[in-house]
């Protein structure tokens, strides 16, 4: 183990790895800071480029981009009241209130250091829990794998939109799309409709670039109108003052870290959820809940700590079960597979050196995030004012180049454009996109585990209730569905009562 650690430290000190980490953090922060661009989109667009890099550099770049992007969203949330990513939506209320009160620097300082602390705790959760979970994962059979996959799809459908049914509908379309290509057990072609290019299936990266990248480009270009935006002024606060403020909310930090890491470790849901949960609990636990929404320190620290703590923890189910912790890690999983690294319980034991290097890289990128975050405080107000038409037409060009580079096929570009319009339409109809992509990624695992379970049990579904872990996971899934249905029925009853009383 000592040898592996020393090797990891030597590897991570290599100039190429440091450069990849720094580039990842910088690109991530810029992408996250620009409203409309998110870490998910950045990962989707840049992951084809990493296929041409060695695994350590490629994966380090993507992990750093993920962290940078998650933090970067807080810059536009605080400065212009528009979250750069969904992970920072809860930061808007108090962060933007501080900016309006002329205290943008204080809000940014709290966001930077809160993100660094949360990030560190998420990485610790990964490093400490991954080996234990890997041992447990070795006991997991096909029935458990099937049950966990169904649970993660239900969870993501539940949390990613206002309606569970729309979430499940999107997930079912993702599952249907994952069927296209080759039968995973028999190896025969299916649902290719005579199109030769479909025999290898639809690529997850073109699909993700289209649904997240091009769809956002189309939406932004369709909505943009000429107008003026004034840059907010930022006065950089003293580090001592920020650290003092963080110390005063240490309990909020501890609670939010725990929430972030726990939600991250659950398959399917990520920082889009954890930032709101942490914000709500911070408000409930606060001695001054009335200050929330008016510029409370806890209102910025809680969501930022939680969403960054989620990043590291989200890698646990991704790497060990091969079930993505959230939508960003589902794209990361695609990149790992492209690098010849198949996520699963033996991934870490078979590639100890590589993973110790990645862990070390995560810690190094955490330090880099602090420096880049502090620098970004000075420049963020300029970055977010880049004219949208220029920015988004440039992103569209990168979407095309990135998609083409995967297989050097125009067919993939066509798939990406089609997915872009589909994603734009889904957004207009308020159908969440995340369950579709996650279901598409999980479709293979779901089918494989389901069919192997049936083969082992001679066509019977009984392993789902005979095996205790599978039964427990199935019960959790049923509880989530029941909870969602109860919420829907209660809302309808309230609406009907309100309508009756109005009449």
């Amino acid at each position: 183990m000592t040898d592996a650690l020393l090797t990891a430290l030597t590897n991570v000190a290599a100039p190429t790895v440091l450069l990849a980490l720094m580039l990842g953090v910088v690109v991530g922060v810029i992408i996250g800071a620009l409203p409309g661009l998110s870490a998910t989109m950045g990962m989707a667009i840049f992951s084809p480029a990493t296929f041409f890099l060695p695994p350590v550099e490629g994966i380090s770049f993507l992990l750093a981009l993920y962290k940078g992007g998650t933090f970067g969203g807080s810059l536009s949330a605080i400065l212009i009241g528009t979250p750069g990513t969904a992970s920072n939506a809860a930061t808007v209320a108090d962060g933007y209130a501080m900016t309006r009160a002329g205290q943008a620097g204080r809000a940014l300082g709290l966001a930077v250091w809160g993100s660094v602390v949360g990030d560190g705790i998420g990485i610790l959760a990964l490093v400490l829990c991954a080996p234990l979970v890997a041992e447990f994962a070795l006991q997991v059979g096909n029935a458990e794998k099937f049950a966990i996959t169904v649970m993660s799809l239900t969870l993501v459908a539940y949390v990613s939109g206002a309606s569970l049914m729309k979430g499940l509908f999107a997930a079912s379309i993702g599952l249907a799309l994952s069927l296209v290509g080759t039968d995973p057990i028999g190896g025969s072609p299916r649902l290719t409709f005579g199109i030769r290019e479909l025999s290898a299936g639809i690529g997850v990266i073109p699909l993700a670039i289209g649904l997240f990248g091009l769809a956002e480009v189309l939406d932004q270009l369709a909505r943009w109108r000429p107008g003026r935006m004034e840059p907010p002024t930022v006065e950089v606060p003293l580090l001592r003052d920020i650290l003092h403020r963080l110390w005063q909310v240490k309990r909020t930090i501890a609670r939010s870290s725990l929430i972030g890491a726990t939600i991250g470790a659950l398959p399917g849901i990520g920082s889009e959820t954890s930032n709101w949960v942490a914000y709500a609990l911070a408000r409930r636990a606060s001695k001054t809940p009335e200050a929330f929404g008016k510029g409370a320190d806890e209102g910025v620290v809680a969501p930022e700590v939680a969403c960054n703590a989620t990043c590291g923890a989200a890698l646990i189910p991704t790497l060990i079960f091969g079930i993505p912790g959230d939508i960003v890690t589902s794209i990361l999983m695609g990149a790992l597979i492209a690098q010849g690294l198949q996520p699963g319980p033996t991934l870490i034991t078979d590639n100890t050196g590589l993973f110790y290097t990645l862990y070390a890289g995560l810690f190094v990128s955490m330090v880099m995030l602090a420096f880049v975050g502090l620098a970004a405080m000075r420049f963020a107000s300029r970055i977010i004012l880049i004219p949208r038409p220029l920015l988004f037409t440039a992103v569209a060009v990168l979407c095309v180049a990135g998609t083409y580079a995967i297989n050097a096929r125009l067919f993939d570009v066509g798939v990406m454009v089609l997915a872009g319009f589909a994603g734009w339409g889904m957004r207009a109809l308020r159908i969440p996109v995340a369950p579709l992509v996650l279901a598409f990624v999980l479709g293979g695992i779901l089918e494989d585990s389901f069919r192997r379970m049936l083969i082992q049990s001679r066509g019977s579904l009984s392993p789902l209730w005979d095996r205790p872990i599978a039964l427990g996971v199935c019960l959790v899934t049923l509880a989530v569905i029941a909870f969602a249905l109860k919420g829907t029925l209660t809302d309808r009853f309230r609406n009907r009562t309100a309508e009756t009383s109005t009449e």
Binding site: M165, F169, P387, T393, A408
Partner: protein, 174 residues
């Protein structure tokens, strides 16, 4: 009816139409799945169990799609309109407006034209044209940055992919 009410009504109809098309498509595919899936059934020894046939899982998934699409269709037709989302936050309000049909058609036409021209005119020329026309179509009239991005980004991307990743993006026939 207000503009917002009309918009909600249109969205519900669009949702209903989309769900109906997907429901019909998935149901048709589920019924005819054997024509689209090749392979052999793995019947267990001594049984004629069809649950292990290669078409079983795709059929199950397609039935699920059809079922959920039907449920969405019913919901879209029966449910009260959802409340409108806030159009924009205060500081970005000056730069955003509603999505209009001409812009949607323009973006569709531009994307189709881009895809058609890409193999013929190549990545650089097509992208230069797309950036300039995209900027003009959205009402952006600051020429220097627009031309700088249009003339520098596509060639820079082409060369970065060519020499950095050894990928040759589509080249011009001319």
């Amino acid at each position: 009816m207000t503009d917002s009410g009309r918009h909600s009504q249109r969205l519900r109809l669009a949702m209903a139409a989309t769900s109906a098309v997907i429901c019909a498509g998935a149901a048709w595919l589920a019924l005819n799945i054997d024509s689209f899936v090749r392979g052999w059934a793995f019947a267990m020894p001594g049984t004629t169990d069809s649950s292990l046939a290669p078409a079983t899982f795709p059929r199950l998934v397609l039935c699920l799609v059809a079922l959920l699409a039907a449920a969405n269709l019913v919901s879209a037709l029966l449910r009260a309109p959802e409340p409108e989302e806030a159009a924009a936050t205060p500081d970005s309000a000056g730069q955003t407006g509603p999505v209009t049909l001409p812009r949607v058609l323009l973006l569709c036409a531009a994307s189709l034209a881009y895809l058609a021209l890409l193999p013929v005119a190549g990545f650089i020329l097509t992208s230069i044209a797309a950036i300039v026309l995209g900027g003009i179509a959205t009402g952006y009239r600051t020429w220097v940055p627009l031309l700088c991005v249009a003339l520098l980004l596509p060639p820079a991307t082409w060369y970065a992919f060519r020499y950095g990743m050894k990928v040759i993006l589509p080249q011009s026939d001319f």
